[in-house]
């Protein structure tokens, strides 16, 4: 036993050797799991996916599985762009933005942005169930908030203008970041009510599958 070892042993005298061993093993396992989740946060191999699924009873309840949290801040892809939900009242031709008025740096605002990205992610993969159910919720929310069911809903991506346009190098792209050229409709639905009072949404894209219904609460 070295002098340093004796000193350290004297320092942690409040724990027995057995306790130190058990805690050491638990800590080692815990941090192997933490780092495994960390390296599986962006893209997962089949083995990583299997391991992450295996340890999910431990990681999920404690939110240790970061589940694709974007610690990288941006990759400049479509999924890093801003999205806005717009609605059109019945009989109207103008679109209104369902906006969160919170301060831009606030988590409340960020939640709204993530909601839009999540919807867009599924819409761009042609998985209709998630976006349709989210749009039904949005329609019910708008009715609850403003007293009237919207006629149409759409999610639009607000592309960031390239720096070349802002620096006036690329004069073919407008400098105004709010120019219509920078908006793309990712998903659009018509909001319908059936005879039983259930709210449905029908994607405007004719290729899309029928959307499921949600009971009006």
């Amino acid at each position: 036993m070295t002098e340093n070892h004796r000193q350290v042993r004297a320092d942690y005298h409040e724990l027995s050797d057995r306790a130190v061993t058990i805690i050491s093993v638990l800590l080692a396992i815990h941090f192997i799991i933490v780092f495994l989740c960390g390296i599986s946060n962006y893209v997962r191999s089949a083995m990583q996916q299997r391991l992450v699924t295996l340890i999910s009873p431990y990681t999920q309840p404690l939110a240790l599985d970061w589940n694709y949290t974007p610690f990288y801040l941006t990759h400049g892809t479509e999924m890093d762009m801003d999205y806005r939900l717009e609605y059109r009242a019945a009989g109207s031709t103008s679109w209104l933005v369902l906006d969160n008025k919170a301060w831009r740096g606030c988590e409340a605002r960020a939640r709204f942005a993530r909601w839009g990205r999540f919807l867009a992610f599924h819409a761009m993969q042609d998985v209709d169930e998630v976006p349709a159910r989210m749009m039904v919720s949005a329609a019910l929310f708008i009715r609850h908030k403003f007293g009237q069911l919207p006629d149409r809903l759409r999610l639009r991506r607000h592309d960031t203008r390239p720096w070349e346009a802002a620096a006036q190098i690329d004069t073919t792209r407008p400098d105004d970041p709010y120019d219509e050229q920078y908006f793309t409709t990712v998903y659009e639905v018509a909001v319908l009510t059936d005879t039983e009072g259930r709210v449905r949404v029908a994607p405007i894209d004719p290729q899309a599958r029928p959307a499921p219904a949600e009971l009006v609460p």
């Binding site: 042993r9 942690y12 130190v20 831009r104 988590e107 409340a108 960031t160």
Partner: protein
């Protein structure tokens, strides 16, 4: 090898063992654990308060994120098993939501202040945070991910005897505990994982190589914090964007490695405030940046017996 009995482990193993024990089990001042507790509690308070205005908008009976949808998304529409438990999943009644919400806000204040039953308070704080995160699966971001593990480790040693005012004055009480050191080490390693995860995944994006990542953050029209895009002029502007981008990437990759060196630790801790301020300015992720800067500052502070 002199002075060792035949039964002793080989020197490298003994050395590794004593190094491991010194790393994890050397007692640390409880003030340090208390500072981490205050940081987690105050960040948690902000988290809950930020939910106040739109709690019903998301979780209410006609909310944007109804219980049925949250449950379906958590299980990938029945394809997977979800272990994400949330007390908020039990009811969407506005009165029940408000009662839980107010209880958790009060608990955050209590935990930040310190006092009796701090461990129970820390546990309630953790359960509350996780409940919100699990109820709002996929609506959470880096801030919540960091806050969750801070709240988890605070449960190990909340150091309730050290009040908030003592933490702010940086007074060092004499008592030292192994558990305070375990909390500190856990936070350090978990922060290291965040830094590395951030840095390595940045490398997967072309914009972090060509130096334009800061532009995509600065110029995002709906989410940018302040309009620094106007400062970009050609040709000097692009150099500024490149510099910001490369600085953030280098910081994410260098910090978790160099911070373990005593020689560079204090400089890096100070540098971290500047780097995270830059992250906040360009990305608008103020809460995440503040939490990372604060946690890095506290977790790697110099102790009386510097390691």
């Amino acid at each position: 090898m002199s002075g060792q009995t035949p039964a002793s482990p080989p020197v490298p193993l003994a050395s590794a063992g004593s190094g491991w024990n010194a790393f994890w089990f050397r007692p640390a001042p409880t003030t340090l654990a208390a500072q981490l507790r205050c940081l987690a509690a105050l960040a948690g308070l902000y988290f809950f308060v930020a939910w106040s205005e739109d709690l019903g908008d998301w979780f209410g009976p006609s909310g944007l994120w109804p219980r049925s949808l949250a449950a379906a998304v958590a299980t990938d529409f029945g394809a997977e098993t979800s272990y994400r438990f949330s007390v908020l999943q039990l009811s969407s009644s506005p009165a029940a939501l408000l009662a839980i919400h107010l209880l958790l806000i009060a608990n955050s204040v209590w935990l930040a202040w310190g006092g009796p039953a701090a461990r129970y308070s820390a546990l309630l704080h953790l359960v509350g945070l996780l409940s919100y995160m699990h109820r709002a699966t996929l609506l959470t971001g880096p801030f919540e991910a960091v806050l969750a593990f801070l709240a988890l480790y605070v449960v190990i040693e909340p150091a309730g005897s050290v009040r908030l005012t003592h933490c702010l004055r940086m007074t060092q009480p004499t008592d030292r505990r192994v558990s305070a050191n375990v909390v500190r080490r856990c936070v350090q390693l978990h922060l290291m994982a965040v830094y590395l995860c951030g840095g390595l995944t940045m490398l997967a994006g072309e914009v972090w190589w060509n130096g334009t990542a800061s532009w995509w953050l600065l110029a995002a029209p709906e989410s940018r914090q302040i309009d620094l895009a106007r400062l970009v002029t050609f040709p000097k502007g692009i150099y500024l964007l490149n510099l910001i981008t490369h600085t953030l990437l280098a910081f994410h990759l260098a910090f978790p490695i160099l911070v373990w060196s005593q020689r560079s630790r204090n400089s890096l801790r100070r540098l971290a405030w500047g780097a995270w301020l830059l992250v906040a300015l360009v990305s608008g992720l103020w809460s995440y940046a503040a939490l990372m800067a604060g946690a890095s500052w506290i977790a790697w502070q110099k102790l009386p017996d510097a390691d």
